[in-house]
Symmetry: C2
Subunit: 455 residues, 2 copies
């Protein structure tokens, strides 16, 4: 069977898509994706990684046409994309396309908002472009998942760069050939290794995907040519970065079956595979009460094997490492009921009570266990046991966050960084994205209250 | 056998290296590498790809602290690195580390010269840093070649980013941990697909490697942390981008056995695998005289199989495609004695006489044939045959270009872009790199005569 001309067909679909081709339902999920992304970008904006990156960028920064979300800093469009990508991912609190574990909004929205502010692109067009970008990256991810991820690629970076290129390319009006170049320029920049997990460089991946994907589109716009077959070519993305290539996942049902409608939003600020455990431990704390938690002698988890592969750190020392420890997460949810960013600070990870309970947690991988499930068994000091089975964790497609829960998540993290009043105003504005003509008004509303007062 | 701590040992070697640790012989080869790179960067400076890239960069360009080699344009340091990397490679006329087909100077020197101009780093330190960068990228290339290249990676991009990170990191004085971060930030950006060959995006690879490697070093300098094991980690560069990992190639004989001393310089402006064919065809033209060339009925080449895999285009339509056609290259060398950039223009590729002779060229792959060898058999119209065997092509390690030949190569390509007088002055200056305290003087000397007159 000959290989279909994937890059060309995909480019053709992107450049010819009309806003009316997207149903109200898909558009509504897109708006939830945007709101969740914005809250996460504000929530991560004061992370030290952002400060280090901005300091490194200083000597190379171009015209400061774009606000860094959640900070007083302005940067050039591409560097603002990098920063937004870093901050929206750094708390591991963002969205997830569950079929591929791609965090879709990071690379795409992070590229689009600075572009929209710089070039005066209105919110309704931004939303359309974002949905296209998310669709493209998730479909390309589907084509190579799980082989590509198992090999060691951080798929949010590698697939994300296509999403950013498609979204920015659509927003600036590339023609089909230019879009093929942009997708191929994205293909040849696809990168990001899972070795970086647990360091600031993990968040660098969606940031760089946003920046590089946008640059790919701008280079194509300027006439810098590239391959026409960057995705499916013999030496293209799918063949080199994966041993699995299922091009039907990219081409079939384009415009009718929407991956962008399957996005989910993390209720907890850590890797998605730990979520069933935190969900179950929170429920146990709720049901037993705090006093009973002190009587726990041992905690036994039965989980999907990926949980231990990705989050098997037994003795985390920093907040960031805590996100990769199912042991810490279980202890913290039982002791404090917490799975928010506040559960993953250096301080909490080193609290004696947390460390002590963490030492009592054991985890057993079971391939028969679904990724969104867990069984938790508490061995109490009096010899009794309590068991909790979570069939599907909160935040999964079967138990999605409601808009109200999304708002609570937004405000909880955002208020810590820019204050409660500014957060409420920003959230309200985010829901009206479709009506915003000047994105600069929205990004300006994300500046911390203290900084606006000073300015 | 446990995996050695490659990233740490390599970082340790880099940050502790003293200029005196590099022998005069290695240093002299480094200077030849620099001179060759500079000539190529000037030679490619007026290629359309450079104009497109500069136009795309415009809206994002930071403080213009660095000259684009061979042009009147100034850009910020990182974008100048990108441009120099593109132009020094776009004519396929640059240097080659023959064991890996890496073109070493592109990613490394392209990053260093704008850095040196921006931060006031003198020429002798630049030369030391360049030799370190070349050494690092070639050793990392050796560790994964040929598997990595065969899989489809453009190794000049993927290994080059390490070279740029190492060189810039050395020049700005990173400590060991920061250098590990820089190498890991490079690892996670390693990219570049062979699918892009024959388009402008091929040259984008060394450019982006220069820019991204330098950025990796600056991020590490600013405290943005990363993995400590980006090269050898389970999910690191070598394991993910290659099925072969020979870490001895990276660590053994560091500082005593120098890959940087094995660099070679292309006598012809195209892929190195065609060089034996051009060399032999030029010799045949020389020996037979132009009249006899008109009597050729058929040209039969017996070559290494890689020649046809990489340069098997039978009907190139553009100059760039001509570089990937052993058929065009043979015809052009026989008819015009030419293998310089002038042989690979759109015009020459479409000359009726060239097209006609090209149609008479046949090539047969023979695994027993060395990569630097070829056998050429001319079938004449009178029934006679002439045979030429090239055991090692000019430009190979066994038949290196002399300094005089390097100078001729430099002047031939440079004069076309910036004029003869400016080229002669620039070349003279390049040989004194070790004595130059302000690199801005050298880069200013690379501006085309017409532009300096206007300024």
């Amino acid at each position: 069977m000959s290989t279909p001309n994937v890059t060309e067909q995909l480019a053709d679909w992107i450049v010819n898509l009309k806003p009316a081709d997207i149903s109200a339902e898909v558009r509504a999920e897109g708006l939830r994706t945007f709101v969740n992304w914005l809250g996460c970008a504000v929530g991560g904006a004061d992370h030290p990684s952002a400060g280090h990156a901005i300091s490194a960028i200083g000597p190379f920064c171009g015209p400061k046409t774009a606000q860094v979300i959640g900070r007083a800093d302005r940067l050039d469009q591409l560097h603002a994309s990098l920063l937004n990508g870093i901050t929206s991912h750094v708390l591991d609190y963002d969205d997830t396309h569950l079929k591929t574990i791609i965090h879709p909004a990071g690379p795409v929205a992070s590229a689009l908002v600075p572009l929209a502010e710089t070039r005066g692109i209105p919110g309704d067009k931004l939303l359309t472009a974002m949905i296209i970008g998310v669709e493209v990256e998730c479909r390309i991810g589907n084509a190579v998942y799980p082989d590509h991820y198992d090999r060691g690629w951080h798929i949010t970076g590698t697939a994300g760069v296509f999403g950013a290129a498609a979204a920015v390319g659509y927003a600036i009006g590339l023609n089909r050939t230019q879009m093929q170049w942009a997708l191929s320029l994205a293909a040849t920049q696809a990168s990001g290794l899972r070795e970086m997990f647990g360091t600031m460089t993990k968040s660098f991946h969606p940031g760089r995907a946003a920046q590089n994907g946008a640059f790919a589109a701008h280079m194509a716009e300027a006439g810098f040519d590239s391959a026409l077959t960057g995705i499916e070519g013999r030496r293209g993305f799918a063949n080199i970065l994966s041993d699995k290539q299922d091009y039907d996942e990219i081409l079939e049902g384009l415009g009718t079956r929407w991956e962008a409608a399957l996005n989910s939003y993390k209720p907890y600020a850590c890797g998605i595979v730990i979520h069933p455990t935190i969900d179950g431990c929170q429920q146990l704390r709720e049901e037993l009460g705090p006093q009973k938690i002190e009587q726990i002698d041992a905690v036994e988890l039965t989980t999907h094997p990926l949980v231990l592969e990705l989050t098997g750190k037994t003795s985390p020392r920093t907040g960031l490492e805590g996100k990769f420890s199912v042991y810490h997460s279980a202890a913290c949810a039982l002791l404090r009921g917490d799975g928010a960013p506040t559960a993953f600070t250096d301080e909490v990870v080193n609290l004696p009570a947390v460390v002590a309970l963490r030492g009592k947690v054991k985890a057993t991988p079971d391939p028969a266990c679904h990724e969104a499930s867990v069984t938790i068994r508490l061995q109490m000091k009096d010899g009794s046991t309590v068991e909790k089975h979570v069939e599907r964790a909160i935040g999964s497609r079967e138990r999605p966050l409601s808009n109200a829960q999304l708002e609570e998540k937004f405000l909880t993290q955002s208020a810590l960084v820019i204050g409660q009043a500014a957060s409420e105003k920003l959230l309200e504005m985010a829901w009206t994205l479709d009506k915003i003509s000047d994105l600069g008004v929205l990004t300006a509303a994300s500046i911390p209250e203290s900084d606006t007062a000073e300015a």
